[in-house]
Amino acid sequence: MIQVHQVSYSYNELSVLEQVSLRVERGEFVFLVGPSGSGKTTLLRLLYADLMPITGDLSVIGQKLAKLDKISLPYFRQKIGLVFQDFKFLQDKTVRENLALPQRLAGTPSKSVKENVNRFLHQMGLSHHQHALPTEISSNERRRLAIARAVINNPVLLLADAPTEGLDLRLSLEVMALLDALNFQGMTVFVTTTDRQLAEKCNKRIIELRDGGIH
């Protein structure tokens, strides 16, 4: 599902990733653990082709990212679910509209969009907040909304950037249970976190990223 081979990346002079290689199989649930600034978010951005590596090869969902062009990029990204560290909601749109966005962009018929949004709002316990703005709901609800938005198009791969950041252990485990349920349905899940203890508690494969390299 994910193949990273000898990938390096640097911001100007500052090297962030050096010769990173890893492999994630289809249906796996993998934690990428590392301290802040270790390059987790950069690696994730490389995986969804927001950045291009300076050296090395990346292959995600069978697609070599170096060969992606402007036309095929949207199709590639629609197969991936993304949970951003800062959520990236449309602040002037309601919870319902934010959740519907990936479906609208994928050109899903209006009737199906309505049904899917209702189902996900119900599953995530957000039905009563559907007309609220993202700023009007709690941090935990925003996190659930971000996950719902990432998986509403039924992607084959879910990339979650620090989805439990700032949460206590109970709420973190709740989020992990949600991701585990998605993984159980067959979705490959790749999660970054700074919390090694949480990753160990979940009993999943852990890849450690430190000083720009895999350990």
């Binding site: 402007k70 949207p74 629609q78 990236k88 449309l90």
Partner: protein, 285 residues
Amino acid sequence: MRYPLKNAISHIACAGTANLIGIIGVGFITALLTTLLLNHSLILKQSEFKRHSPTLVAFLKDTVEEAHGRTLVSQLEKNGQILAVDYTSKADKLARGEAEFQDLGVLIKEAFAETQGVNPFPASLNIYVDEELITRKALEHIALEIKTHHEIEDVMLTGQGQLKDRLRDSERTMLVGTAIAIVVAWFIIGSIIKRATVARSEEIYLMKLIGMFRNYLLLPFVVQGLFLGGLSALCGLGCFYTMMYVFQSQLGGVHFLTIYQIILVVAAEMLIGALVGLTTHRKYA
């Protein structure tokens, strides 16, 4: 299609009051362009009206016989710049005067008949010049040349050449004016679309990450360009028409643009808007 359009409207709304300022700016340019267009139409109409009149009229002296006058015609026709020369005798002129001026013509004839007993109208040569050569300067030169013949009393420029000069000037002004208008409209519309893009940069970035297709991203830019171009043109034309209506009595018989010209102006500005949207999308999105 409904959602992409809603997205486009939201994109327009992001520019806020800049839209209004832009519409006023481009509308003002449209009004200026309309003035040039009206002026050109007016000159063109005058030119059409005078199309069949001669460029120069040379009046012959009363002492010149008709046979001598006709010899002069063939002499003048040898000049390469002159297309044709018509001889009009005194009798023809008198008949035409009666026909054109009716009662007044008869009165003139009778008055002269009583006092002098002669036809007051001089024989003349109607001279047609190649329209490509009709500049004021060239015409004056030809007129002076004709005047050197001793049979000629006077040479009159009918105004046809002057009209051609004005038409050329008007065409040149229209061309320069249109070029300036396009540049200014491009700059104004481009700035507004850029403003909306900056305001929506995070939203656009998110949409790209989620997998937005290029057409979907392009649509708001083009729709905003079409909206600004079209509405500005309509506002400019509307204001101009209102002004013309208010000052109708002072303007006399000047008519507003034809429906085809209105459609052309609106379509041209919408096209400019769409092109600006396209280029801004390529540059900033």
